[in-house]
Symmetry: C2
Subunit: 353 residues, 2 copies
């Protein structure tokens, strides 16, 4: 598959030879940009999020969120429906990208005004076609549903192409895995716009992760999909962590911790789940490539842990820490976390230097 | 891919034309079989688990767990390491299947005693080869690691074949996706034993779900894998729900609820996440095929919800309930759960009759 066109969303390139970027969407209404919001957004960035989207349900929301533009290194996307004036305001405020469904903006001249403003300001526009909002989609087969979705996107693209506007990302979203696959695959054959992938309305945590992983893996392995959002009826943090895992496992992204952990079982002599929870924040925000093993079982534990950059395995009241095959520390269980974090910090320094 | 041989694990057939069965492993030490344990195990069954495994670290554990054999419809698997006497005891007690790694049982005569006892009693044996416990596996390439894993399993199989014992399930487990794929694919070409699939040491919830989904999807789509366990450093319930979602999305299993839910976003006017949590137990144990939509957003909500068997969407202080496109109820938000469960129950009765 040839590379897509590349667009620049603030500091983050999307498409072309850029790595697949991770997006999420903020999940609560924002009344003001305070330190809590800034911290939470930057924490998502530390966990692997590249671009974050906010709903802009009205003009006031643009003013409310504008201060965030200078408080996070992440590019901000404004999600806009129905009212073109919100889009104009968001572009003027400096949102790096806006997402619209031209179909619900109304008359062409309104969309044209958005295009003119975006071209002037260098704002990227995502054109989002969504199967759920198609009035007359044919539900007879995945193929015809896919065709309907592509045609909806192409109708939306016409105005942009007429005006020569190219800073576009396209999304073709469905809650159906097959429609998602077919429509994105066919669209990429016809157009070189970067594609934003996601399975929409994927549901609660476990169903959403499973469905999104199946639905996006094949496309991503074929080189289709330049930016992704895993939609989950849960927290943005989980969306980011899932996206990062997906890209990591498909070898499309490096960076971050690889955790090898025992499943819980009746043999476990060390509470791997509790231990992982206790060091989750430190692990998820580590900006280096490391494989960490947290093993609870004398049967498989030591065998797996020896291949990790850092390993910990419990045995009764003691823990053993490994570094690439060598036991480096033996500690009382009470000091396990402290010792582990010391070694992690040591590794981080070695990797960063 | 031709069908595997079929074995009978208690009431559950594994392999041949049987549907792919779901397994989990109990995650805590069991001191006695009380009502809490029985309820928890049967709750896993209601959620979709077909077969459950318990660690049997010593002979006493067999006695402790034996009463459960008559308290659950699920076949029980005993997980045994090192001591062949535990295996003999578990077979005698009526465990429907035992899982051993013949490599750590010791001398051949001990394994032969296990085989003789299992053949007499009709007990299935899973032969589990695990990359983590291979002494000298070659870590140079996925191909050679896969070959080492297959050879370990084949060495283990020799004694069983010599004695003509065929009630075997084989597992080839690795924490590496590619080694898992290659070894199972090649093993199936050489042998017709049912394969138990799983990615071992897959880690905490999100990494484990992503990694297992990627790692097992391709094999399952090729018809390889007759029973699966998703290993997660978390609760067995999550293992079962993930396995069920995986099989459902690959169209390998029907039964159970399909939940279409909005991702949380700043547009949401109805707390879909909270609502889903409040009805999770009822949804996850529903023994019929239904698509349920829980939508929070006026943009995509109604469009998607109209294709569901039952849909709910919020709008300010009211909720609307849909059945296959038609609004059937309009309720105050306070009565949302009650109304939803009434309609769900009505649907269940219609589907069951």
């Amino acid at each position: 598959m040839s590379l897509s066109r590349k667009v620049q969303v603030g500091s983050v390139p999307v498409g072309g030879d850029a790595p697949v970027s991770i997006q999420t969407m903020w999940d609560r209404q924002v009344d003001r940009v305070d330190q809590d919001l800034v911290s939470a957004v930057n924490n998502l960035h530390a966990k692997g999020c590249d671009i974050i989207r906010f709903a802009l349900p009205n003009i006031r929301a643009v003013d409310t969120l504008a201060p965030l533009l200078n408080s996070t290194p992440m590019p901000l996307v404004g999600d806009i429906h129905f009212d073109y004036k919100i889009a104009l305001k968001a572009i003027e405020a400096g949102f790096h990208k806006i997402r619209i469904n031209p179909g619900n903006i109304g008359e062409s001249w309104k969309v044209e005004e958005i295009i003119t403003a975006a071209a002037h300001k260098g704002t990227v526009i995502r054109i989002g076609a969504n199967e759920g909002s198609l009035a007359d989609s044919d539900h007879s087969s995945p193929e015809s549903r896919s065709t309907a979705l592509i045609e909806a996107a192409e109708r939306n693209l016409e105005l942009f192409e007429k005006k020569g506007f190219k800073d576009i990302v396209v999304s073709l979203k469905s809650s159906d895995i097959e429609v998602t696959y077919l429509s994105n695959k066919e669209f990429r054959k016809r157009h070189d716009y970067p594609l934003h992938l996601g399975i929409t309305e994927a549901g609660p945590l476990i169903p959403a992760i499973v469905k999104s992983t199946i639905g996006l893996s094949d496309l991503l392995r074929e080189g289709i999909g330049e930016t992704i959002r895993i939609s989950i009826s849960d927290s943005p943090e989980y969306e980011v962590l899932t996206a990062k895992e997906l890209l990591f496992n498909l070898k499309l992204r490096s960076g971050g911790i690889r955790i090898i952990g025992c499943p819980k079982c009746g043999r476990t002599q060390f509470d791997t789940h509790g231990f992982l929870e206790s060091v989750r924040e430190e692990l998820n925000t580590l900006p280096v490539d490391l494989t960490v093993a947290v093993m609870g079982c004398s049967v498989n534990g030591p065998g797996e842990a020896k291949h990790a950059d850092l390993g910990i395995t419990g045995n009764g009241k003691q823990v053993l820490l490994f570094r690439r095959g060598e036991i480096i520390r033996r500690e009382d269980i009470c000091s396990a976390k402290e010792a582990f974090l010391e070694e992690l910090d040591q590794l981080r320094r070695e990797f960063s230097s």
